[in-house]
């Protein structure tokens, strides 16, 4: 099947399309030029795949657009699809995440930190009030990138269960379809807090969370220093950083089909945001983080300095799986063999903010 790769950048959306099992790519764009595209989604739940993009113009504000013809044309509701109700006193800065569940819903994670849900294919979204009204909210802080919900993980088989993560604030879970929320950060440290307070109930700067392909109760988290795994649905977290060259980074991606396979792109440290040894390497674990191997075949061999942002790494749904990442220097790399080897899909793009890929 053809594969579509959506590349959100600081100055628009680029689309890469492959008709030959990801050997070569045709690129179009920029769609929505001069806008930041922080969140993209390829919704393949129906026969006609729908692309959705969270688009932010520094002049004209944020919106969500969608395409049912793989980006040839785009539509946008007349009324703002995502807007804060008047009584909140808040206004939408940016859409960071668009995610679908098995029940037909579309979720949006926003800045400021809020979760919205659409029951009509993305035409209108409603604020998930229980999370917005959570007593912790007034103490959620903003990371450098802003205060936002950047991770939304619907449970693959239990529609009542939903996990989100935000910077800062950490991981929150609902087991009653969003009616109530519980902070789920036990074991995750906040290195920016003084020593006695480094394991708070909430307030951690969790950068990204991914769910294991076969065990929904297993999740992986890349934290602001710290890489963790939970085997109990997020109730507790344990470090899986020992085999990595650094516990700092932004993305973490689970394999779409294979249990215990997870990918990471480490950076040296909070205060040194370059890849370790200035080498471009993806790290893969095939045992849920107990051990890691560096993957670099086909990646740049010389000194490499760009970072990979939290949503700028993804997997497609093919078999063998494709793995993708984009850099702040505008390069995009793809592997069609689960990370064993890599090719460059694009270069000289604006900063890559997010990538998503799927068979279409």
């Amino acid at each position: 099947m053809p594969v579509q790769l959506a590349i959100g950048t600081a100055k628009g959306l680029f689309l890469a399309h492959s008709e030959n099992d990801r050997k070569t790519w045709t690129i179009s764009g920029p769609h929505f030029p001069m806008t930041g595209v922080y969140g993209v989604c390829i919704d393949t739940r129906s026969a006609t795949p729908r692309l959705m993009a969270g688009v932010s113009s520094s002049h004209y504000g944020p919106t969500v657009a969608y395409s049912d013809d793989l980006g040839e044309t785009w539509q946008e509701p007349d009324r703002a699809p995502i807007a804060f109700p008047a009584d909140t006193g808040a206004t939408l800065d940016r859409v960071w995440q668009l995610s679908t569940d098995a029940e037909g819903r579309i979720y949006a994670g926003t800045q400021p930190s809020a979760l919205f849900v659409s029951e009509d294919g993305g035409q209108t979204f409603d604020l998930v009030r229980a999370l917005w009204d959570h007593p912790h909210r007034e103490k959620w802080d903003a990371g450098f990138g802003g205060q936002a919900i950047h991770t939304i993980l619907p449970h693959p088989s239990d529609p009542s269960s939903l996990t989100v993560a935000m910077s800062t604030g950490g991981v929150y879970r609902s087991t009653d379809q969003g009616a109530s929320w519980t902070a789920s950060n036990t074991g995750i440290q906040a290195t920016f807090m003084p020593e006695p307070e480094r394991f708070p109930e909430f307030g951690q700067c969790v950068h990204k969370v991914a769910r294991d392909a076969t065990d929904p109760s297993r999740m992986y988290a890349q934290n602001h220093h710290g890489v963790y795994r939970s085997d109990d649905g997020g109730s507790t977290w344990s470090s899986i950083a020992d085999g990595l060259p650094s516990d700092f980074g932004f993305p973490i991606v689970a394999h779409p089909h294979r249990a215990e396979v997870v990918y990471n792109f480490p950076l040296t440290a909070d205060a040194m945001r370059f890849p370790p040894e200035h080498r471009c390497r993806v790290y893969r674990s095939a045992d849920a983080g107990r051990s890691w191997e560096a993957l670099s075949s086909g990646l740049p061999e010389g000194p490499f300095y760009p970072a990979v942002l939290r949503d700028a790494m993804c997997a497609d749904d093919a078999d063998p799986a494709g793995i993708y990442f984009g850099t702040r220097s505008g390069e995009v790399y793809a592997s069609r063999d689960e990370g064993d080897s890599w090719t460059q899909v694009a270069a000289h793009l604006p900063d890559v903010l997010c990538v998503r890929a799927a068979q279409v």
């Binding site: 520094s58 004209y60 504000g61 009324r79 206004t91 939408l92």
Partner: protein
Amino acid sequence: MIAVPVTLLIPTTLRAEAADQRALAVPASGTLGAVLDELAGSWPRLERRVRDESGTLRRYVNIYIDGTDCRDLGGITAPVPDGAEVEIIPSVAGG
């Protein structure tokens, strides 16, 4: 009763939201807010490009009323006479 509609001048980057028109006749006056409220009814995507959901003008959008920056006239409450020329001009932003 609106005697003469306001003429709303639209920058190139927003004309896609107004069927590629350079100007719209908006049958409203009184305040800038009233003009934008009327605009929201007929060209809602254009209106939400210049105001957020709280009704506040977006930071990097400037609107001139007969040549004067609306922010010097009270912002969203700035008076707009019948038949005024209201021009949307994007400010300096981005990199």
